[in-house]
C-alpha cells in the first residue's frame, strides 16, 4: 500500500536500494552517495539489498539510519550446497541456453521466461553439468575463440555463467518494495532487472560510475588473456544492456554519461540527470594562509584513481618549485599501494609526497590549497564537490562528470594518463595565489547553487513520486 503523504514533501513508500560491493559494508563514493540519499529522504522507508562477492560476514561501515528496515547481504558466488545442486526443470534448459547465448554476445536479455522457469527457492546449477551446456559452450568456443585455449575459455564461461545462475537466486531474495533503486548497473542493475521482471515494480538505476569503463580499467591492470577479457566485457555489456532494457528511469549524475548510455541501448526518454549533492553546511570555505602550497588528492588508493600518474606528475612539479603532495584516502589495494610507494622511493620524492591513509576530509580541506584527482574513471566525485564547497581550486582528469562540474572556471581538466599535463596545471596554480583564490570562490558558489543534498533529495523524491503515480 503506497500513500503519498503530501506532494513533494512526504512520501510514505518503501524503496529497495540494490548495491554491488558498496553500501553499507564497503566505503567509497558510491556508498557515501547512497547514505546521503537515505539520510535525506527521511520520509521514505528503505530496504537494502547488498550484493557481495563471497559468503562472508562484513560489518557495517555506515551509521544505521532509522529509516532503514532490513539489510540483506547476498553473495554472488555461492558454495556448493543443496540449493545449488537442485535440479532445474529440463524445460528451463532452452531458456537458459537462449539467455546465456545472449550474455556471451553482449546482448540485452529477456528475463521473463527465465524468471518463470526458475523454481522459487533455488536456481540450481544442474544445467552447468548437463550435456546441453557442454554443447552450448563448445559451439560458443568454436564461434568466438577456436584458436585459443579451450580450458581457459571453458573456465571463464563456466565461471561467468555460474555467477549469473547464482544471481538468478536474487529474484527469490530481494525484499519486497514499491520501488527498486539500483546504485549501479552490473550485477546490481541485473538484480534490479530481475526484480522488475518478477514483480513489475518501478526500477530506477543511478549510474555514478560507468560500469563498463571500470571493468575495462580493471582488465588493463590484470594480466589476463585476450579471450578472458573479451568474454568478461561481453558479459558485463549484456548485464548493462539488460538493466537498461528493464529500467523505468536511468539517472546519471552528469550529462556526459548520456551518450555512453544511449550507445549501450538506453532509451534517451528514460534518462534524467540528477546532480549529486553534499551537505554544504559541513564544508565551509576557510582562510588559506601563505605557505608552501599543498596539493591534496582525496581518493582511495586503488588503480582506478590513477595514483601512479599523480606521483609522476608530482615528481615534475617537485623538481621545479616548493610544493607538498598528500594522498588522502584508504588503502584498498595493498599491492597497488606498495607499487605506488616503490615509485615514490624510486623517484626520490618521499619527503614531499605522503600517504595519509584514512582521514576526516572536513579536517583536511582547510590544510590543502589545491584539490586534485588523477582518476582513470569517475562518475561525479563527492570529494570534488566537497572541495569546491570548501573553496578549493581543482586540477582533475577529464573523466565522467568532472569536466561538467569544473566548467565555468572553477578548475582545470586534463586528459587521463598524462602526468606532464597534470604537472603543468599544478605549476600554473602553485605560482599564482590570486588565481587559486579566485577559482576557489567560484567553486564555492557553484557548489552551493547546484550540488546540495537538499536539491538531490527533492529530485529523487519527485522521481519516486512520479514513478509510483505513473505505475
Amino acid at each position: 500500500m503506497i500513500t503519498i503523504v503530501a506532494e513533494g514533501k512526504g512520501l510514505n513508500t518503501r524503496t529497495c536500494i540494490i548495491s554491488e560491493g558498496s553500501y553499507p559494508i564497503i566505503p567509497g563514493g558510491l556508498s557515501e552517495w547512497a547514505h546521503m540519499l537515505i539520510k535525506n529522504l527521511k520520509d521514505v522507508e528503505f530496504e537494502i539489498f547488498c550484493i557481495v562477492a563471497f559468503e562472508e560476514d562484513k560489518p557495517w561501515v555506515y551509521e544505521r539510519l532509522p529509516n532503514i528496515n532490513n539489510v540483506v547481504v547476498k553473495p554472488l558466488m555461492r558454495s556448493n550446497n543443496k540449493k545449488t545442486r537442485a535440479k532445474l526443470p529440463k524445460e528451463a534448459f532452452a531458456s537458459l541456453e537462449e539467455f546465456f547465448n545472449g550474455a556471451s554476445e553482449g546482448k540485452a536479455l529477456g528475463l521473463e521466461n527465465l524468471v518463470s522457469a526458475v523454481p522459487r527457492g533455488a536456481a540450481g546449477k544442474s544445467w552447468l553439468r548437463s550435456e546441453s551446456y557442454w554443447e552450448f559452450i563448445k559451439n560458443n568456443y568454436q564461434k568466438n575463440d577456436a584458436s585459443g585455449s579451450f580450458l581457459e575459455y571453458f573456465w571463464t564461461s563456466y565461471g561467468l555463467d555460474s555467477m549469473m545462475l547464482d544471481s538468478l537466486n536474487f529474484v527469490n531474495e530481494i525484499p519486497e518494495a514499491d520501488i527498486y533503486h539500483c546504485v549501479s548497473t552490473g550485477f546490481a542493475g541485473f538484480a534490479g532487472a530481475l526484480a522488475k521482471a518478477a514483480f513489475n515494480k518501478p526500477l530506477v538505476i543511478t549510474e555514478q560510475g560507468l560500469y563498463l569503463n571500470e571493468r575495462r580499467n580493471d582488465l588493463t591492470r590484470q594480466k589476463v588473456s585476450e579471450s578472458y577479457g573479451r568474454q568478461l566485457m561481453q558479459f558485463s555489456e549484456s548485464m548493462i544492456r539488460t538493466s537498461y532494457r528493464y529500467v523505468d528511469k536511468l539517472v546519471p549524475p552528469c550529462l556526459s554519461h548520456i551518450p555512453i548510455e544511449t550507445d549501450l541501448g538506453a532509451d534517451v526518454n528514460k534518462i534524467q540527470v540528477i546532480n549529486n549533492g553534499i551537505e554544504i553546511e559541513r564544508f565551509q570555505p576557510s582562510a588559506r594562509p601563505e605557505r608552501i602550497p599543498v596539493i591534496g588528492c582525496f581518493a582511495r588508493v586503488v588503480p582506478i584513481k590513477g595514483v601512479t600518474d599523480l606521483i609522476e606528475a608530482a615528481k615534475i612539479v617537485i623538481d621545479r618549485c616548493p610544493v607538498e603532495f598528500v594522498m588522502l584516502g584508504d588503502v584498498q589495494d595493498q599491492q597497488y599501494y606498495e607499487e605506488c610507494q616503490e615509485l615514490v622511493q624510486k623517484l626520490g620524492i618521499g619527503d614531499h609526497f605522503k600517504f595519509m591513509g584514512h582521514i576526516n576530509p572536513v579536517e583536511w580541506y582547510p590544510k590543502v590549497d589545491v584539490f586534485t584527482l588523477a582518476s582513470l574513471s569517475e562518475g561525479v566525485p563527492y570529494a570534488l564537490l566537497e572541495a569546491m564547497s570548501c573553496g578549493l581550486p581543482s586540477v582533475c582528469t577529464a573523466v565522467g562528470g568532472v569536466p561538467e562540474i569544473l566548467s565555468g572556471g572553477v578548475g582545470f581538466v586534463v586528459p587521463p594518463g598524462h602526468p606532464e599535463q597534470l604537472a603543468e596545471k599544478y605549476c600554473a596554480l602553485i605560482g599564482n595565489r590570486e588565481l587559486r583564490l579566485e577559482m576557489g570562490a567560484r567553486a564555492t558558489e557553484k557548489a552551493r547553487n547546484q550540488y546540495t543534498i537538499k536539491k538531490m533529495g527533492d529530485n529523487f523524491r519527485g522521481l519516486y513520486e512520479e514513478l509510483i503515480n505513473g505505475h
Partner: protein, 447 residues
C-alpha cells in the same frame, strides 16, 4: 571390436617397438621367476608330511596376504607421492618409501594383532610360529612398498633384477635350511626374504639416491593422510582387489580346515588349480604399456585448442582399444597354455575344473584392472570399486556351497569377475561414447 576383425600386424607392430612392452616384460619376468621358484621349492620339500607342509604354507601365505592387504593402499599413495612431487618436494621417493613402510607396517601389524586369537586358538600356532608370521609380515610389507616405488618411478629393471636374484636367494636359503634340518625351513625362508628386502633397500638407495633432508615423520604422515583422503576411491579399489584375489582361496582353506577338524587346510586341488589359474593375470603387464603410452595424453588432456584436445582423446581411445585387446589376447593365450599344461601334467583330475574356471575368471579380472586405469580420468574410481566388489560378492555367495564342492569357490570367483568385468567395461565404453563431456564434467564436479 571382435578379435577376428582386429588387424594383428597393426596391433603388434607399435607394441614391440614401444618401450611400453619392455616395461611389461619387466613385470612378467619377476612374476614368472617367483612363481616358478615357489612351485619348485614346494615340490622339493618332500620330507614334510601333509600337516607340516600345511603349517608351513599357512605361515607364509598369512604373512604375504596380510602384508599385501596392508600395502595395497600404500602402493597407490607411493605412486602419487613420486609422480606429484608437491607433497614431498625433496627426496620424494625415499621419504615416501620410509613413511609408506611405516604406515604399511602399522596397518599390517594391526591385522596380525586382530588375528592373534585365531592363530593361537584355531590354528594352534606356537609363540615361535607367531613370531615368524610377524617377521615375515614386516619384511613383505616393506618389500611391497619399495617395489611400488620402483614401478612409480618407472625403474622397472630394478624389481625385475632384484626379484630374480632375491628369489634365487630365498630358494637357496630355504632349501639349504631344509637340507640341514627340515624344521629350519621357515627360518631359512625368513632369512631368504630378509635377503630380498636388503636387496630392495640397496636398490632403492641406488635408484633414488641418499636422503638429503632430515625426515619429519609427523609432517610426512600428515601429507600421507592428505593424499589418502584425495585418493580414497583408488585406495579402496586396491585393497578390495587384493582381497578379491585371495578370498576364494581363504574360504576353501577354512572349509577344508573345518572338514579336517583344524583351522585352515591349504593343501589340495583347489589351491593348486586356483593359483595356477591366476597366471593369465600376468597379462595385466599390458597396463604398464598402456600407462606409458597414454601418460603424456592424460597429463595434457586439457591443454590447447578443442581440436588438439579431441585429437588427444582420439589417440587415447585408440591406445585403450589396442591395449585392451592385447591384454585380453595375452590373457587368453596364457590361459590356454596353462590349461593345456595343466591337463597334460597335473595328475589330479579334480584340479582341472578349478583351473579352467579360475582361468576364465582371471581373464575377466584382468579386464577390471585394465579399466581401473581409465575410470579415474572421468573421476569414476567408484565404478572400479563396484566392479571388484562384485568379485568379492561372487566369492561370498559361493561360500555356503564350497563344502559340497570346492569348485563352487572358483565359480563364485568367475561369476563375480564376469559381472565386475561387465560393469567396468560397459561403464567405460559408456563414458568413452561421450568422452569430452565426461572428462570436463569431472572438473566441474570437483571444483
Amino acid at each position: 571390436m571382435g578379435i577376428e576383425g582386429y588387424n594383428l600386424t597393426k596391433l603388434f607392430k607399435p607394441i614391440v617397438n614401444n618401450p611400453g612392452i619392455r616395461q611389461a616384460v619387466l613385470f612378467i619376468v619377476p612374476s614368472l621367476v617367483t612363481t616358478t621358484i615357489s612351485i619348485l621349492l614346494f615340490s622339493l620339500l618332500t620330507d614334510f608330511n601333509s600337516t607340516q607342509l600345511n603349517h608351513l604354507s599357512i605361515t607364509i601365505f598369512a604373512a604375504i596376504i596380510i602384508s599385501l592387504v596392508g600395502a595395497a593402499g600404500m602402493q597407490l599413495l607411493i605412486y602419487r607421492i613420486i609422480e606429484d612431487h608437491e607433497y614431498f618436494t625433496e627426496d620424494a621417493a625415499m621419504r615416501g618409501i620410509k613413511t609408506g613402510i611405516l604406515c604399511t607396517v602399522i596397518i599390517s601389524m594391526l591385522m596380525v594383532i586382530i588375528g592373534i586369537p585365531y592363530f593361537l586358538n584355531v590354528l594352534n600356532f606356537s609363540a615361535a610360529d607367531l613370531l615368524i608370521v610377524i617377521i615375515l609380515t614386516l619384511i613383505y610389507s616393506a618389500i611391497w612398498v619399495i617395489t611400488s616405488a620402483f614401478w612409480a618411478a618407472e625403474k622397472n629393471l630394478y624389481p625385475a633384477a632384484l626379484f630374480a636374484i632375491g628369489y634365487i636367494g630365498i630358494f637357496a636359503c630355504t632349501y639349504g635350511a631344509y637340507k640341514i634340518n627340515f624344521s629350519y625351513t621357515l627360518a631359512g625362508f625368513a632369512i631368504g626374504s630378509c635377503f630380498l628386502l636388503v636387496l630392495c633397500w640397496i636398490g632403492a638407495r641406488k635408484a633414488f639416491g641418499k636422503q638429503a633432508v632430515v625426515q619429519n615423520v609427523r609432517a610426512d604422515l600428515r601429507r600421507i593422510r592428505h593424499i589418502a583422503s584425495q585418493n580414497a576411491g583408488a585406495i579402496l579399489f586396491n585393497i578390495i582387489y587384493v582381497l578379491a584375489v585371495f578370498l576364494d582361496k581363504i574360504f576353501v582353506w577354512i572349509v577344508q580346515g573345518r572338514a579336517a577338524g583344524g583351522g585352515l587346510s591349504i593343501l589340495g586341488p583347489y589351491t593348486e588349480g586356483a593359483f595356477l589359474g591366476l597366471i593369465p593375470m600376468l597379462s595385466i603387464g599390458v597396463v604398464a604399456y598402456f600407462s606409458i603410452k597414454t601418460k603424456v595424453l592424460v597429463e595434457n588432456r586439457f591443454k590447447g585448442t578443442l581440436i588438439e584436445i579431441q585429437n588427444r582423446i582420439g589417440a587415447y581411445k585408440s591406445a585403450y582399444q589396442k591395449g585392451y585387446v592385447t591384454m585380453l589376447l595375452a590373457a587368453y593365450i596364457l590361459g590356454i597354455i596353462v590349461a593345456l599344461l595343466g591337463y597334460r601334467f597335473i595328475g589330479n583330475t579334480s584340479v582341472i575344473p578349478v583351473l579352467v574356471t579360475v582361468i576364465c575368471g582371471s581373464i575377466m579380472f584382468s579386464g577390471i584392472i585394465f579399466n581401473s586405469m581409465v575410470l579415474p580420468v572421468f573421476g569414476k574410481s567408484s565404478v572400479s570399486v563396484a566392479a571388484v566388489l562384485a568379485v568379492i560378492i561372487g566369492e561370498i555367495v559361493s561360500y555356503p556351497f564350497i563344502a559340497t564342492n570346492v569348485w563352487y569357490a572358483a565359480l563364485g570367483f568367475f561369476i563375480g569377475s564376469l559381472i565386475g568385468f561387465s560393469i567396468s567395461t560397459f561403464y567405460t565404453l559408456y563414458l568413452f561414447s561421450r568422452f569430452e563431456f565426461n572428462m570436463f564434467n569431472v572438473l566441474v564436479k570437483n571444483q
